[in-house]
Point group: C2
């Protein structure tokens, strides 16, 4: 007999291992934040003793979902402005509020966003924002994994007066969190249309020097392509490549306006695409060609983008919309299968995060997992658990969220922070926003 | 002082009255299944005494949602087959199982569907299926409103050998439930491609004779248009009109492949369109032109369709997808506003149901309403409650569902039926389906 910290026993486990095994009446042995063993409960009971046992009858265990592109802090703007043209939305609503940002607003907005992510089964996210240090503080409080970086623009942000300062902030962030097991820093140029060629090359150089991943918005809209052609004489992917951004493991968010040749280029360079169906639909940006991405061998992940353009940070919502969107756009009900979409939200997200220990539940993987209540009316009857996760679940069926072996959410309670106090703080920020903008209901 | 049965006091009320008033710190007085009064709590306390008082602090009250097109019983097939071409899905998976239907399967499947609807804030639905008597029995048990009818095909169903029998079943159903305050019968020809011209005319005649509404699938796919042209020499809307189906108040489900002239015709005839975004996306049927419908003055409602092609019966899911879908399809982020979508799911649904007392909360309206928990992380902060209902809510925030003044669901409990027993029954049916099909895992 071996000894582990906790044995989790559930009705079913979607492992997302190489054979995509689904186990019935099964258990996970968790030790030191990792999965020590996974399999039928009788086998695990014969092999493992544990300090604690958590029984989850009528629950489905599955890997924690990875939100591959978000701006968690923007949760403070959730629903402030909808149904508006993109440029009017950005220039009249979002940018004026972002000039008022403080570390306190960013920290509180991020923790609000992380609360929603934990509540809906997300255990890791890839973020980019202003005052990212405050995002990391919130992620550290919440206990989930975050790969994030200070956004680099050529114009001033509330945090950084110029791109040089943003890169120095990135360097300081990487140094400050270098020993944290859950938080990792990325170099985050905003996009090819908000940064000069020199800035993009400086970003690539810093990523090379510090061995950090890159995270950039790329080819989000046809309008971006037009701007890139005008500014740089190249389409966004070609320009990003010329500036050295398309490094192996780089995360390109959106990739909506990309052609087949560009998909092949992205695949060859070993970058990962973060697809954000809700945001792209809500802002009428277009539909990223997910089925073509997969055919081209490009690793695709799913993201929520920020709550200002979604307005949820719920990966179950994204999975359902992704699966349906591409069937409509391709006029083919056989594309974007439940299997492919769940893979994107787990294994694809793990690749985007740069950590192959995420997104699957088997010996050696991270103990990042969630439990869904199979007695929820929308999950009955059940013929195929993967179908239910993608098509029938809303995210609210999540009863348990565990990252690195630590229970972060269970049965309506967040374990790592004072949720009622957070609600009071976010309401204070809302009142501040209403005073500043004179908008709202 | 006047006296009512129950006073409901909530943090906010979205009334959906003519001025689209949103009340803060407000109350509803409910008497005899109707709203006797609605307004600021201080005013109602000055006017009303009550037998009971239900306090809903931090809750948002809003009208119960109307699911304008569904096949509740098909919940027993949820997730049996996904990601398949339409005809293969119908002919290899759905039709073979529908030949095995019994009233017990229909009753149990429907109650499972109604459980999900009540759980996610739906208080009325428009249904069509085989053995509709069993659907009505389930609706009567659950306590929600249902406008439903026996589906009329030219070929045999498990219930009726021919269209004449289906029309006689419709007549008997109308007679059996004529005194029920919540259940109403519609004449339900399946579509123009599964019924002869004579059958469609017989349906229109029966609707005329018994003064019943009509409910028909119309123009769901371009393939239906092609079939209609081949069979009848007319596009679906023209053929339905020629057969007398486009009567005032008729509900046409889908209306995907319709042109501007057809939208004007449908509007002139006073029919209502039931838009089913999830089903149309999942089956790759196309996108119904909702913004053009509204411009043409056609009353539009929202529906889930059946769980075999969705796979949810969740009107919040439909609202979010509808709002996003049309922005993408029209390449315009200003169409399908939160206000228009909420109107479709409430007032539009009321029009489709044929009951103007539904879909709004004011004196004289039906006491059909729901309460959402505003402490849910995805609903904070809140600037605009209508935005949150459409874009941020998942349906799982519903804590209370009331139809005709009766509490049907509250805080995880269904009040009108034994939910654990229902789960056991639906699992028995799943086992039966698995034996019959050898499919599913």
């Amino acid at each position: 007999m071996q000894h582990c910290d906790t044995l989790f026993h559930a009705a079913r486990i979607i492992t997302q291992d190489a054979g995509r095994t689904v186990l019935d009446d099964a258990a996970l042995a968790v030790r030191d934040g990792k999965i020590a063993d996974a399999g039928p409960v009788a086998e695990l009971e014969a092999r493992w003793t544990s300090d604690e046992r958590i029984n989850l009858p009528n629950m489905l265990l599955m890997p924690g979902l990875v939100n591959a592109h978000t701006h968690a802090a923007m949760t403070f703007l959730r629903g402030l402005a909808d149904d508006m043209p993109l440029m009017e939305w950005l220039q009249e609503r979002i940018f004026p509020m972002e000039r008022e940002l403080t570390p306190h607003i960013v920290r509180t907005g991020s923790l609000m966003g992380f609360a929603e992510m934990l509540r809906t089964g997300c255990t890791a996210c890839i973020d980019m924002y202003i005052f990212e240090q405050a995002v990391f503080e919130a992620a550290h409080t919440a206990g989930l994994r975050c790969l994030g970086g200070e956004v680099v623009f050529d114009f001033p942000s509330a945090c950084c007066p110029d791109p040089r300062a943003a890169l120095e902030t990135t360097r300081a962030l990487a140094d400050a969190w270098k020993d944290d097991p859950l938080l990792r820093v990325a170099v985050c140029p905003h996009s090819v249309y908000t940064t000069s060629e020199k800035t993009l090359r400086d970003c690539a150089r810093l990523a090379e020097e510090l061995d950090l991943p890159l995270h950039v918005h790329l080819a989000e809209t046809p309008a971006e392509t037009a701007m890139s052609l005008k500014l740089h004489g190249r389409r966004p992917a070609a320009h990003a490549d010329a500036c050295g951004l398309l490094r192996p493991g780089a995360v390109v968010a959106h990739a909506v306006d990309v052609n087949e040749a560009e998909l092949r280029l992205l695949a060859e360079r070993g970058v990962r695409a973060a697809h954000n169906p809700s945001s792209n639909m809500k802002l009428a940006s277009g539909a990223a060609p997910l089925p073509a991405m997969l055919r081209a061998g490009l690793t695709a992940a799913l993201g929520t983008d920020g709550a200002a353009s979604n307005n949820q940070l719920n990966m179950f919502t994204e999975m359902g919309r992704a699966a349906l969107l591409h069937k409509l756009v391709c006029a083919d009900p056989t594309v974007a299968t439940a299997r492919e979409i769940l893979d994107a939200a787990t294994l694809g997200g793990a690749a985007a995060f740069g950590d192959p220990a995420l997104g699957r539940l088997e010996a050696g993987a991270a103990a990042d997992f969630i439990a869904l209540d199979l007695d929820s009316p929308n999950l009955r009857p059940m013929y195929n658990p993967v179908s239910h996760v993608v098509y029938a679940a809303t995210g609210a069926e999540v009863r348990l969220t565990v990252a690195a072996g630590r229970v972060l959410y269970r049965d309506g309670r967040f374990t790592t922070f004072d949720y009622p106090a957070l609600l009071r703080e976010i309401d204070d920020i809302r009142d501040f926003v209403l005073r500043k903008t004179g908008t709202g209901r």
